[in-house]
Amino acid sequence: MQEIKKDYKPLIVAFCCNWCSYAGADLAGSSRLSYPAEVKIIRVPCSCRVNPTFILKAFQRGADGVIICGCHPGDCHYTSGNYFARRRMSLLFSMLDYLGIERERTRVEWVSAAEGAKFSAVMNDFAKTVTELGENKRLEDLRCKN
């Protein structure tokens, strides 16, 4: 485990589907349930819109953690989008793990529009996990030219 800088704050990108998780994030907001400012949300229509390239690009650009949030399985606004997302992300995350990248840096969570509290809890937990992991050295190393 690497040493963590004292005031280290990770950079976290959260992809949220418009219908459930983004609304859940809004609910967390209107309920004033806080989570770290390091979490930045990108709105997508559905978790199935999240292309693995977005995730890799985020890491390449310096993100320390990427989380994808969608409707609970069975509740997708588009019926089946999150089922496809679930398979894609399962395979992608497993591949990143296979390449030796810390598996805790990527996560999928199902958060409904009614789960503001869950959204906030998930983000707090994920931010904590990523903070403990420290900077994305594995990918930063790769970004360095040598």
């Binding site: 693995p52 399962s90 395979l91 591949m95 030796g100 790769l142």
Partner: protein
């Protein structure tokens, strides 16, 4: 095995002569005896350059994308592994099946030139192939090898069998592989994350982005690759930094996941000897484990595992196969 070459040649000549096909897609002799390359033959005289032997490793199916569009039928020789790619390409509407005359041809595994070179063989004058061993003649000397020593990686674990063809040329039963296809994947999974990271960093940093893997891959058949398309946001001609290698190879493997037949061409052609097939095989092994056994190209209708789902699929948090 010499007999296979004769039968194939005979078949090509006959079908050309009676007008069943307008051209033949096969392998052409090279300068050095082992450097066969895919070629199209239009006449009997052309066919003088034709050869099918232990060096005919190249997968011909991808060439059919262009060849099957042209006037008249094309005869193609398909080894077991090539035929899976063929089916997959038919499924993806990339080959006009009606324009192709397929001849399945026996294959007992092809030789890895890199391995022969390691054994000091630089020039090949001839090759005598049996089911389990092979004799290579180089500068007048004969070298005998057990197949496992000199087979291409993809061939030493090949479990593929002859699928349906218009005709089949086969004299012997196919040899059964002595190695497990997923052995190395499992070994990697058993390593710690740090070890895996070190392994891949070592391998992928060798990449020179020559794009050979992409160009040879039958599943990489897009009109324009995303890496060549500025609008994709990931376009790059060369690796500007070492992350790009990962980006390129992960995305390439992801794009062919569920479509890759594990033909192993990527690793065969890699000039840097990067075991790229281990990325594809990881996806295949995960797919088999999580969503049930699936072999791309086994037929030309079944939906791929990434375009299907069940409501009870595993959650991304619980899919990790390997060690932490």
């Amino acid at each position: 095995m010499q007999k296979l070459n004769e039968l194939a040649l005979e078949k090509a000549k006959t079908l050309l002569a009676n007008g069943t096909v307008a051209r033949v897609l096969g392998w052409k002799k090279g300068e050095l005896g082992y450097d066969l390359e895919p070629a199209v033959f239009y006449s009997e005289s052309d066919l003088e350059g034709f050869i099918y032997n232990a060096f005919s490793g190249a997968n011909l199916s991808k060439y059919l994308i262009e060849e099957s569009k042209k006037e008249g039928k094309v005869l193609v020789f398909l080894k077991p592994c090539d035929s899976y790619s063929f089916n997959q390409l038919v499924k993806e509407h990339r080959i006009v099946k009606e324009n192709v005359y397929t001849v399945g041809i026996e294959c007992q595994g092809k030789l890895d030139v890199k391995k022969l070179k390691e054994k000091g063989i630089e020039i090949v004058d001839g090759v005598i192939e049996n089911v389990d061993d092979v004799t290579v003649i180089s500068l007048g000397k004969e070298y005998n090898f057990v197949k496992e020593e000199v087979l291409l990686g993809k061939c030493s674990v090949c479990e593929k069998h002859l699928l349906s063809y218009d005709e089949v040329i086969s004299l012997h039963d196919k040899r059964t592989p002595k190695l497990d296809r997923f052995e190395i994947v499992k070994k990697l999974e058993a390593m710690t994350a740090d070890e895996r990271y070190a392994f891949w960093k070592g391998e992928l940093s060798k990449c020179i982005r020559c794009n050979a893997c992409r160009n040879v891959c039958p599943a990489c058949n897009c009109l324009k690759c995303v890496f060549d398309n500025d609008a994709s946001g990931i376009a790059s001609k060369a690796n500007s930094d070492s992350f790009e290698e990962k980006l390129f190879h992960i995305i390439r493997a992801f794009h062919v996941a569920g479509r890759c037949t594990d033909c192993g061409e990527c690793s065969r052609v890699c000039p840097q000897a990067i075991p790229l097939h281990l990325l594809n095989r990881k996806f295949i092994s995960d797919i088999n484990r999580l969503y049930g056994e699936f072999q791309a190209g086994e037929d030309d209708v079944t939906k791929g595992p990434l375009t299907a789902y069940t409501t009870g699929d595993a959650e991304p948090s619980e899919v990790f196969g390997g060690n932490k």
